[in-house]
């Protein structure tokens, strides 16, 4: 009897021993896979420089305008693509070939005049419409302009501006519908202006010496625009703080994950990226805390925008949050959202990166009168940017949404 018992115990031990999976680790099965990254052809760049009469004051040799434009295009040629086509634009498009050296020498009032077209009125909406029609997934368009509306003699300027605003909104809305991955970046720079300034009645004001803004619009597929901005960083050409930026782009999903080591909680084993269980107070600060790593790298939005707490909204105000750059990591996370609360509030926490806030400079640098040159201001710039912004945020008020489930 005892023998039988011993034998059955022996087999029981053998059976239990076979249940364990011993020292089998996943890492032993890991294979090093070298990712194959396809080489993507660079897009073509079309550069449109407005050559209306109001631009003459910017293109006196030695001005910041000519220096910057030449440097920027040259860097684009060297660091991004050699496929650059140059155009003057006013009432029509005037091709200038692709010789950057020749183009640089043509940045002067007499060449602007010589190349013709209707230089008397600037209908920004029509210029943009022409440019958008020539922009697609394989093209990036640069539009270099003083951005000043010129309604012309005897026109109702308010109606003109309103029509332009609606026109810009409509063409960008259509463009965004056919190109959902499109992005628009508008840089504002300052340059000395020496020459004739045309006010909103088209009345020339002679010998104006003032520092006035000019704009470079970059329009194209978001990946291309992002790639261009990374390869030709504007801050290498213009000093930081000497320019302002506005961006418009569509909504997309971003990669995010709850960050381990950022509080007292456990991750849900089946949804560890977005579900927290057993959240509790951290004894050190008597608060509930956790953080979420997010990858915002696919946006052309600048870091100032992404780091500004006011650009986010939370569905549960019991949680306070801050945003900072992510710590160095191999997973591509660019920013970290840190949340805290006095106690645990269970439920779905939603954080939206909002589109609704236009940068303040658009209102500060807008001139509503357009009667004379005002340092740092542009007649009607607010309406142009608002038109683009509203076209891109008509359907989505946020760039993205992050959802955390606290169980």
């Amino acid at each position: 009897m005892n023998n039988i018992r011993l034998k059955s115990m022996f087999f029981l031990i053998l059976f239990l021993a076979s249940c364990g999976n011993g020292h089998k680790h996943n890492y032993q099965e890991k294979k090093i896979v070298t990712p194959v990254i396809p080489i993507k052809a660079k897009p073509k760049i079309n550069v449109y420089i407005e050559n209306s009469a109001s631009m003459d004051g910017f293109v006196n040799k030695g001005n910041d305008f000519t220096t910057f434009v030449s440097n920027f295009l040259n860097d684009t040629y060297i660091k991004y693509t050699e496929d650059i086509n140059l155009y003057y634009i006013n009432s029509r498009i005037i091709p200038l070939g692709n010789d950057l050296n020749e183009f640089a020498t043509r940045l002067n009032p007499s060449d602007f005049k010589k190349m013709g077209g209707n230089r008397g009125a600037t209908k920004i909406y029509e210029l943009l419409d022409t440019i958008l029609k020539a922009t697609n997934n394989n093209t990036i368009s640069f539009f270099i302009t003083d951005g000043i509306f010129s309604p012309g003699k005897g026109k109702d300027s308010q109606k003109y501006i309103n029509d332009q605003y609606n026109g810009i909104k409509r063409i960008f809305s259509n463009f965004f519908k056919t190109n959902p991955n499109a992005a628009v970046v508008v840089y504002q720079f300052l340059s000395p202006f020496n020459g004739i300034f045309y006010n909103r009645h088209d009345k020339p004001i002679y010998k104006v010496e003032e520092v006035l803004p000019y704009y470079i619009w970059i329009i194209g597929n978001i990946e291309n625009v992002k790639d261009l901005m990374e390869n030709v960083p504007i801050e290498r050409i213009a000093s930081k703080g000497s320019y302002k930026i506005f961006t418009a782009e569509g909504r997309k999903k971003v990669n995010y994950a709850i960050k381990i080591n950022t509080g007292k909680f456990d991750l849900d084993k089946s949804n560890p990226k977005n579900t927290i269980i057993n959240l509790r107070k951290d004894g050190r600060n008597n608060k509930v805390t956790f953080a979420v790593d997010v990858d915002f790298s696919s946006y052309v939005l600048n870091n100032e925008y992404l780091l500004d707490k006011n650009n986010y909204s939370l569905n549960n105000n019991n949680y306070d949050f801050s945003i900072k750059k992510a710590t160095k990591n191999p997973y591509g996370y660019t920013h970290t959202l840190v949340f805290s609360a006095d106690k645990v509030y269970k439920g779905i926490l939603t954080i939206k990166l909002n589109k609704t806030n236009l940068p303040s400079w658009i209102f500060e640098d807008n001139d509503d009168e357009g009667l004379m040159a005002i340092r740092g201001k542009t007649y009607g710039i607010k309406y142009q940017i608002q038109g683009v912004h509203e076209a891109f945020s008509a359907n989505d008020e946020s760039y993205t949404e992050i959802t955390i489930n606290i169980k």
């Binding site: 031990i13 364990g20 999976n21 089998k24 080591n261 991750l267 710590t327």
Partner: protein, 163 residues
């Protein structure tokens, strides 16, 4: 059920640390999910097997110190319990120390780094592995008592040990 052993181990999580616990749950820094093997189950099952061997040997193996008339004493049972605990301490410690030294534990679990990638805090040291070994002594003891209650009644010489 899959998480039963892990949940038992996590009674002692404050001893060996949350980050080592996450590693043992199978957290993978690269996928940011629990895609690795749940080591609580692996180590836990091995611990149970070792305990079972010692319990069965104590009650049924006809050798001195084990199933022998002179072994029918509570302190004898305690020695065997201690031996099983020691073996399980070694298993848990060596297993995790090896993983730690061989770089199998993900960087995100071991360190918190600043924006430049410099280490700000280290969360896992070898000490944590030894403390996990210590926790395994407690688990081993728990199962030893449980199996003793289950198996002692059929023992010829030690059925009244330890109680």
């Amino acid at each position: 059920m899959e998480e039963l052993l892990g949940n038992i181990y996590c009674w002692f999580e404050s001893l060996f640390g949350q980050n080592l616990a996450e590693y043992l749950w199978g957290y993978n820094c690269e996928t940011q999910g629990y895609s690795n093997v749940n080591l609580f189950n692996s180590i836990g099952l091995l611990t149970i097997v070792v305990v079972l061997i010692f319990v069965l040997a104590y009650y049924y193996l006809p050798l001195y110190l084990f199933n022998h008339p002179r072994s029918n004493r509570w302190w004898n049972w305690l020695i065997i319990l201690g031996l099983a605990g020691f073996v399980n301490f070694l298993i848990a410690s060596i297993w995790t120390v090896n993983d730690f030294l061989n770089g199998n534990i993900g960087d995100c679990l071991i360190y918190t780094r600043d924006e430049g990638g410099n280490i700000v805090v280290q969360h896992i040291y070898e000490t944590n592995c030894f403390l996990f070994g210590l926790s395994n002594i407690f688990i081993s003891t728990l199962f030893f008592i449980l199996f003793s209650i289950l198996f002692k009644r059929w023992s010829r010489n030690c059925k009244y040990s330890p109680f």
